[in-house]
Structures are given as structure tokens and as C-alpha cells.
């Protein structure tokens, strides 16, 4: 099999804002939880629709981080067009999303269920709009795009001994290849980087970026260290599997992020979603919680995710997830890239990185991942609780 990692192009969908998608989806946004069922009914007859529901209810106050993610996901490169649904009695104004989406050049429709005469009529109207959006999506121009058009999220889950030895180094090698060729890679899971602060500071492109990274890791640590509530930084299972210290565990996790300089750590907060500028490697506040992290990465403008694991079949409906495993005992047909050779013998990390990149380029050009369109994780919209954030702030100087 020829290694397509030597080619630097993929076949994508050209968006009006000049970004290039690797999938062509119609996004149905249920801006409030009451429209979740409506969204699913509208989506039912159509392939290539993705439903994203705000389950934090229809209030704006306290839910700004969720709102900003929804607005950003609506402009993800894999989105061809958007249908926004509101019940009509909430305080999130759909125009706060439809206007920027329209300004970016994408087609967008809105259905206000109450104004439209209720659920039955809104299913009907919603399906008309979805059909129109699907037809418009089909007219999206295809382009040969350079690898540099890719923005790739990096995540791990279901980690075990093989993660630190095989799959994380393999993805790290691929991240270096991507960044060296002008693409952008984004990591997150700041909670998993506790213990690596000074290493990360040294990798940052500037002292300001370095300090921002350290501050956000400390904040994440405090956020999850509320007395009386158990949180696992290291489980007995981790240590039975070979991990001795939190530094060792975190360094193993860090290895999936390659070694290139870190341009910034992108915040996801009630103030908005910070987006990458120059190509390169970035950290972010993408959460360690799996389902929600994929929505974070979609909000950050990523077209796909490289995901390291032993054998867990995690997937996202909007941005394809490539599962990379180095664990021969757990490897199954949910996995996209086999790097078990690192531990079994015969495969170097460098070769494994090329293998990951080749697989990614195939997926970018349209090859489905191992479980694409079979079963996905929830499109979980997660936000940091503003009430807790306010308390952490007040507790800062105690």
C-alpha cells in the first residue's frame, strides 16, 4: 500500500469563509432543550444531518459558554448549512446565531415553534428547510486542499499502559508531521497535564503564553478539587498498570501532543471561544470529558480528532474521530489505526506516526472511519458552572 503521507492534499468541501470541510453536514441546533424532540423528528428522514441540543435550558444568564460553543459549532468547516430551532419562550435569541452564520456565508433558517403554530407544523416546516439545506449542501464546491487547511483535535480516553508507550507517542509523531507541514493541531484536557506545567511553559512561544498555560492548569486543578467530592487523578488501576506518579501519567498523556512549540492555550468560556491564529500547535480548554471534548473541538474549528485508546469506540457525528490503539489485547474493529507493533516489536514510533497521518488523509478525503455513521457518543454540550467559577474566584486568596 502506498503511503499517502507523502502527499500533502485532500479532497474537501470549500466553504464561503474559505475554510475546507472534510464532511458536508446540515446542522440542526435545538437552542433549548424543549426542541430536542422536534430536532430529531426533523432530522429523521435525512442523512448527513447532525443534531446539537442545548440541555442547559433556555436561559442565557449562566449559560454563555454553551451559547458561544453552539455559535462556533454552527461555523465549523464540516457544516454546510444550519437550521435553528427555538420553542419561542426562552431568552436565547436565535438571531444571535443566525446573523453571524449568515454573515459567514452559510445558509441558515430558523423555526420558532410557538410562532409557527406548534410542534406538528414545525416538524413540517423544519423538514422543508432541512431539504433545502441538503440540496444547497450538494452544491458545495469540492477542492483539492493542502494539508495545511486541516485543524485537528487531539484527545485520549480509555487510557491504559499502551497509551503512554504506543498510541500517544504515535499520535504525537503525527502531530509533529502535521504541524511541520503547516497544519494546526489542538490539544486540551488541561486536567491531565497537572505535573507538566514547567515543561509546557518551556515549550510555549512566549512568556505570556507560558504563564497562561500554567494559570489555566492550576485553575482546572482547583476546579476539580472541591473538598468532599472524590475526583480521580490517579486510580489504583493506573498504578497496577505501571504508572508510579502523576507526573508519569501526565507525561504519557502529553506525548500525544508532539513536541512543537505551543502558540497559545485557547480559552472556552462565558466570554467566547478563542480560535487559533497562525498555524501550529495549540493547547485549549477542551475538557477531558470525552463527548463534550469533541463538541469543544468542533467549536474550535477542527475537522477531525485523533483519539488514542486501548479499545474504546468513541465517535462524534459532526467531526470524524480516528481511533488509534497500541493495545493488542483490546484492539477491535472499532479501531482505525493499529500501532500495536510498537509494543509487540517491529514498529517504531516514527513509522507509527506516518501510519496515523496516512489514515487521517484518507479520512479527510472521504473514507469513513471504522465506526462512522454506526454509533456516536452524545453531542454533549458541557460548560463550566459560573456559580462555581465565581466561588473559586472568591476562594483564590484564602
Amino acid at each position: 500500500m502506498t503511503c499517502s503521507a507523502t502527499s500533502d492534499v485532500f479532497e474537501g468541501y470549500l466553504r464561503p469563509d474559505k475554510s475546507v470541510g472534510i464532511r458536508n453536514k446540515v446542522l440542526i441546533l435545538a437552542l433549548d432543550e424543549c426542541c430536542e424532540g422536534l430536532a430529531r423528528q426533523i432530522a429523521a428522514p435525512f442523512a448527513h444531518t447532525v443534531v446539537l441540543t442545548n440541555a442547559y435550558t433556555c436561559m442565557m444568564g449562566g449559560n454563555e459558554e454553551t451559547f458561544h460553543q453552539m455559535k462556533a459549532v454552527a461555523q465549523n468547516p464540516n457544516v454546510a448549512g444550519v437550521l435553528i430551532l427555538v420553542m419561542g419562550c426562552g431568552s436565547i435569541n436565535p438571531e444571535w446565531i443566525s446573523e453571524p452564520v449568515r454573515a459567514g456565508g452559510r445558509p441558515v433558517f430558523t423555526v420558532n415553534c410557538q410562532q409557527n403554530g406548534g410542534t406538528r407544523k414545525s416538524v413540517e416546516l423544519g423538514r422543508e428547510y432541512a431539504a433545502r439545506l441538503a440540496r444547497m449542501a450538494e452544491e458545495t464546491p469540492r477542492v483539492s486542499a493542502p494539508l495545511a487547511s486541516l485543524r485537528i483535535g487531539i484527545k485520549c480516553g480509555g487510557s491504559d499502559t499502551s497509551s503512554g508507550v504506543a498510541s500517544n507517542p504515535a499520535v504525537g509523531a503525527a502531530a509533529n508531521l502535521l504541524v511541520d507541514r503547516g497544519a494546526t493541531c489542538i490539544g486540551g484536557e488541561l486536567f491531565e497535564l497537572i505535573g507538566c506545567e514547567e515543561l509546557l511553559r518551556a515549550r510555549a512561544v512566549s512568556p505570556e503564553a507560558g504563564q497562561k498555560i500554567v494559570d489555566l492548569i492550576h485553575l482546572e486543578q482547583r476546579r476539580w478539587s472541591v473538598p468532599g467530592v472524590e475526583v480521580e487523578t490517579m486510580s489504583v488501576g493506573n498504578s497496577l498498570g505501571g504508572l508510579t506518579t502523576i507526573e508519569e501519567k501526565s507525561l504519557g498523556a502529553l506525548h500525544k501532543m508532539g513536541s512543537r512549540p505551543i502558540r497559545d492555550v485557547l480559552r472556552i468560556s462565558h466570554e467566547g471561544v478563542e480560535l487559533p491564529g497562525e498555524p501550529g500547535f495549540y493547547l485549549s480548554e477542551a475538557t477531558m470529558l470525552c463527548g463534550a471534548s469533541a463538541v469543544n473541538y468542533a467549536a474550535l474549528g477542527c475537522q477531525a480528532i485523533l483519539w488514542t485508546s486501548g479499545g474504546a469506540g468513541f465517535n462524534n457525528s459532526l467531526i470524524p474521530v480516528l481511533r488509534v490503539s497500541g493495545n493488542k489485547a483490546l484492539f477491535n474493529d472499532d479501531m482505525d489505526v493499529d500501532v500495536t507493533g510498537i509494543m509487540e516489536g517491529g514498529l517504531s514510533v516514527a513509522e507509527a506516526g506516518e501510519r496515523v497521518l496516512a489514515s487521517l488523509l484518507g479520512v479527510a478525503s472521504g473514507t469513513p472511519t471504522a465506526i462512522e455513521d454506526i454509533a456516536d457518543a452524545s453531542m454533549t454540550l458541557y460548560q463550566k458552572d459560573r456559580r462555581l467559577e465565581s466561588c473559586l474566584d472568591k476562594c483564590r486568596n484564602r
Binding site: 499502559t161 508507550v165 502529553l254 510498537i342 514498529l347 517504531s348
Partner: protein, 114 residues
């Protein structure tokens, strides 16, 4: 011959890719390029996924893995011996003593508790 892997040149430890017993020869390969780096005699049981000391490590020294410091040796560790919670502590947030006891108990290493 039992297979081990070293993650970065200069690391103090290698990871067992299969269970190793006292008397075995550990063959250590470099993860980056798959080349053999060294061989040494295994002096203690090293289960799959666990670490062997590639050289003798004095008490109090900083332990290197992945090219970075992952902890501090709480006692001197001889070459070929197991490196884990009984002889290493975190410089950040160490595993609580009770957890260490439980880990060692489940690994059948209760005799190691100091």
C-alpha cells in the same frame, strides 16, 4: 530474552513489554526507532507495563522517563530492579500511603513496604 522499551535516550528506566522474572535478560529497544539500546539482567519480578532501573539510582535522585523528571527515588535502587510506588515518590502530589499499600498488596509485593 524479555522485551523492554525505552521512551527517550538517557531515561533511567525502561518499560516491560512482557512479564520478566529474576535471571531473565532484558532486551531494551528505543521506542523512537525500534533499535536495540542495551541488555541487562533482571533482578526482580517486573510485570508487563512496569519499569526496570537501567542503572543504579541513588536515594534522593530525580528519576527520568520521557526525557523529563517523573519523581524522586525514596531509596537507592539497584540496576535491574523494579521501580514503582515503593521506591519513588511524586514531586507534585504523591499517591497516599494507604493507596500505595493497596497497590503493592494487589501486586503481591507487600514485603516491599518500608
Amino acid at each position: 530474552m524479555k522485551r523492554f522499551i525505552i521512551m527517550h535516550e538517557g531515561d533511567d528506566v525502561a518499560i516491560a513489554l512482557e512479564d520478566a522474572a529474576p535471571g531473565d535478560t532484558a532486551q531494551v529497544r528505543d521506542a523512537q526507532n525500534n533499535a536495540e539500546v542495551c541488555r541487562l539482567t533482571v533482578h526482580e519480578r517486573i510485570p508487563y507495563g512496569h519499569k526496570i532501573a537501567l542503572r543504579s539510582l541513588p536515594a534522593g535522585c530525580h528519576l527520568k522517563k520521557y526525557g523529563a523528571i517523573i519523581g524522586e527515588c525514596t531509596q537507592a535502587i539497584a540496576e535491574g530492579c523494579l521501580v514503582h510506588v515503593h521506591n519513588v515518590k511524586s514531586l507534585s502530589a504523591d499517591i497516599p500511603e494507604a493507596f500505595k499499600h493497596e497497590i503493592l498488596r494487589q501486586m503481591g509485593l507487600e514485603g516491599y513496604v518500608s
